[in-house]
Subunit: 604 residues, 2 copies
Amino acid sequence: MKTYDFRKVRITGDWLARLQEQNRLVTIPAIYKQFEQTGRIAAFDMNWKQGEPNQPHIFWDSDNYKWIECAAYTLKEHPDPAVIERIEHLIDAMEAHQCEDGYFNVCFQMFEPQNRFTFRQQHELYCAGHLFEAAVAYAEATGRERLLAVAEKYADCIYRAFVTEKTAKFFTPGHEEIELALVKMYRYTGKKKFLDLAAHFINERGTHDEERNDGYHPEIRSDYNQSLVPVREQTEAVGHCVRALYLYTAMADLALELRDEALEKACRALYRDIVDKKMYVTGGLGSSAFGEAFSNPYDLPNEEAYTETCAGIGLMLFMHRMLALENNAAYADLLERAFYNGVLSGVSLDGKAFFYENPLEITMLNHFTNSWGARRYPLTQRIECFPCSCCPPNLARVISQFGNYLFGSDGDTLYVNQFATAELSDDGVRAVMTTRYPVDGDVSLRVEGKSRVAVRIPGWCASFTADAPYTVENGYAVFANTGAPIRLSFDMKPFAVRARSEVVRDAGRLCIQAGPIVYCAESVDNGANLHALAVSPDFEAKAVADPVSGLLDYDVTGWRRKDPVDALYYRAEEVWEPTVIRLIPYRCFANRGECDMLVWLHKK
Amino acid sequence: MKTYDFRKVRITGDWLARLQEQNRLVTIPAIYKQFEQTGRIAAFDMNWKQGEPNQPHIFWDSDNYKWIECAAYTLKEHPDPAVIERIEHLIDAMEAHQCEDGYFNVCFQMFEPQNRFTFRQQHELYCAGHLFEAAVAYAEATGRERLLAVAEKYADCIYRAFVTEKTAKFFTPGHEEIELALVKMYRYTGKKKFLDLAAHFINERGTHDEERNDGYHPEIRSDYNQSLVPVREQTEAVGHCVRALYLYTAMADLALELRDEALEKACRALYRDIVDKKMYVTGGLGSSAFGEAFSNPYDLPNEEAYTETCAGIGLMLFMHRMLALENNAAYADLLERAFYNGVLSGVSLDGKAFFYENPLEITMLNHFTNSWGARRYPLTQRIECFPCSCCPPNLARVISQFGNYLFGSDGDTLYVNQFATAELSDDGVRAVMTTRYPVDGDVSLRVEGKSRVAVRIPGWCASFTADAPYTVENGYAVFANTGAPIRLSFDMKPFAVRARSEVVRDAGRLCIQAGPIVYCAESVDNGANLHALAVSPDFEAKAVADPVSGLLDYDVTGWRRKDPVDALYYRAEEVWEPTVIRLIPYRCFANRGECDMLVWLHKK
């Protein structure tokens, strides 16, 4: 299907509109403030001097670009002059310092201009990619194309260095990102050169012996950045998760643009590998903190989960592109799972602080810091800015562009992929959706300009009702459009989820889900030792509205284990007392001080 | 109680005699061969030259000493001339190279003689301690005192450097060991100077600001080697486990020798901290591989357990000394738990290969090696020699001196602390014990020369019978000795053990124990995915004799979980099929190829 982008879709009310509003009014300014305070914004002036604080870092260009991008998406509906001024100021600096030949990278220009395009791992092309995405977003939202001109000039420079003149010392990016960004440039400008360059990078990957062990990290196997085999031969998701997902996203983009079946087949295989073997129930990806990477099938440790916020966002991007390749509700399901759980957990309920890693289990007692000061597990509290602060603006741009994910079109059918109170308006097609989703499962739709309406039946949904006849196609309930409202109601009652038996860390455990939302228990509600709690699959649940998150908490029936004797190990029987367990949406964890948290509850 | 040492006790038959025989005929020669091949033996000739393989290492002296010690214990009953020749050859080399003033350390003499007693972390005093232990063992077993002369001369040198002349650049050993060794020297020679030096090191520990951050590892907090506070103020077991247990052993020795109540109180507190909060069910110690260390209370991860073989041995040594301080069967229980489980697991059933770490859970699928080649979990197969090969000779010396742990005496009471077919003969006291323990629980005793016989009632034992009346004192069944045989029978039926609820990694799990032996399941017997198996506490068990280990395996009733649908996560019900689970003694794991292993089974 063709999906409608944010320029055609307005989220007009209810939960997602409030989230977008907080993102625009709190999160995006908070990130800017952090980037200003840490010297990222000033870095574009290229006047940092040795000995001063805040030496520009190789990642920082991309942080600024992602901030421009997340801010740009808000400008379509809220053309705030102060935001535009901040962006224009950055563009001024870029124009002033962009090289004659189009090159732009703060660190290389300032510290080692002679080493341009020399070190594969130094994120030059990654930063360029985020520039291209920002430029397209700003142009789409405002019509302003000054940043796009900077981007095009730089893209031309890269094209020469890697394709025509081949002056670059490596062949493909150490960190993928530019590929999907070049597709965006192509789609906006229509210039095929950008598509060609994206295809060039995709096609070259995994074909160069030199890139199996690159000079920067010679000790790293090339599966780290998916360079072990050509992309069309890749069937298993490996290596650094964010790199991987950005690559897969671009592969799906190109499969669509070039009608490349081998590429599409590889995308499907990678998707299946992730969804069948390597994904947390929260949609989080990455079991190994070391390498920020995928690991073996079914190796999904909860306490030491890496699950970078950006990796979950990468999964959303990949699923968005897969949906464009194939009308299959499963892709929209996965996008939804990642968004409402392992992605949104990346930002605090007040919108100001962020997780890089999103573990599924915290036991503070296990958070031993050894004599070396080494930390065994991820942070337990969100912070405002990281030394590598990729996640905060990435999350902000996903929230502000969420309109991209709602609607799609194929022939005479309008597709509804995600649920929000929203309006679509595009060239004779109009849709109005009203829902309190994800707080309840009632959805009302009115559509004009299409004869069929296909509404995703969420994968988590065991039963639903509709007030009109429908057929089921690829996970969608398809209605003939009479112009009259279509009303559906999805059963949002909490239910117990099992992980398949190969996931050894979840053996003997259940996770509670309601609608798309995965729940967890926190010790601030339930007292010490969440592992002494147990639930049975036929628990009873009472919804409790939470005014802070705007979501539902649940009180579920369960038990608490008591030790009958005072010994570390004993042969006596266990004693269980009935109790009520307060569950909160996973995305809300760690908002009331440092405490234990558990997604996979023990099963009684 | 006063415990009888190996000079008075002969293990004459059955399981423990066979273990000792294998240790003498296979393990001890195999370790010697490894030490010869890796250059450790030749290092004492001090003629290694730059560019040659096998550069002497700072730990190696102690490896040789521990080999002498384990071999020496066997000489009492088996005075093998070939073994004596190997030991005498090493003594020749030591005599030839010992410094005029008594100093002896291969690496410092060869590479940096000017830095003698300068680097606290460089194991000089640790090596010296193992020399002293070897010298005493060899003298006790054979009457030969040439090595003891080397040891005494070196001890005098150390006394001058640390006490009288104070030329040493630090105050206390970075790795404890010399303290307990000096007590042995004192007990054998009667020279109070050695006891004084032991007390000096114990009393100085934790009193010097300089030793809170030593020069060698400035990044290490001083709890790493128990130097944060004076020893009498220590109440929590912290830091490197082997260091800690060697310290506690010496503290208990000194508490006894000096009737030092403050020291005894600290020993009791440290014992309680370990036994109540920081010990694996196998008697293994050390939850953190990083630092080889204790961590927080109840933090006892199974898969990443550190549980060094030497730490379990340290626990045995500590418990042996605590029993000397107080007639309490609990200490002997703990010594037994460590020995039959987490210590003996350190050696393969063929006696030739060794574990350094003894994890309680292996899932090969989780053994991900990332793009950097980093290993997340301990080795899954024993190997013949480690770069730091402290464990193999340590284990061999514990087996060959096991006679030390059987009997004790206090007034007119003979204590039976451990069970084996054995004879005690000492100055009018004679005891003959006959048992197939740990294969069954029948024990027969005949004692002369004591009017009371106190037999430990094992802590794991829920019921036992005796053919004579008894009273219970401090965990011992106390019989009036008529000279007639006393027969006891301990119920060895397998039972389920729970960990208390704070041990989150064992929540929802059971471990099966029979007698002192902790059991585990291996995938070589039970097929893939041991986490899909479950048992209930009221399982039925059938014993199966294992001719290789000489112990009993068990077939227990249980279930295997089947996934009803083909998805990573699902809301369908679980399906359980009845099955039989083969359990083997934990010490036997990893003897039939690399496979999954599980101590804590899931509870149905």
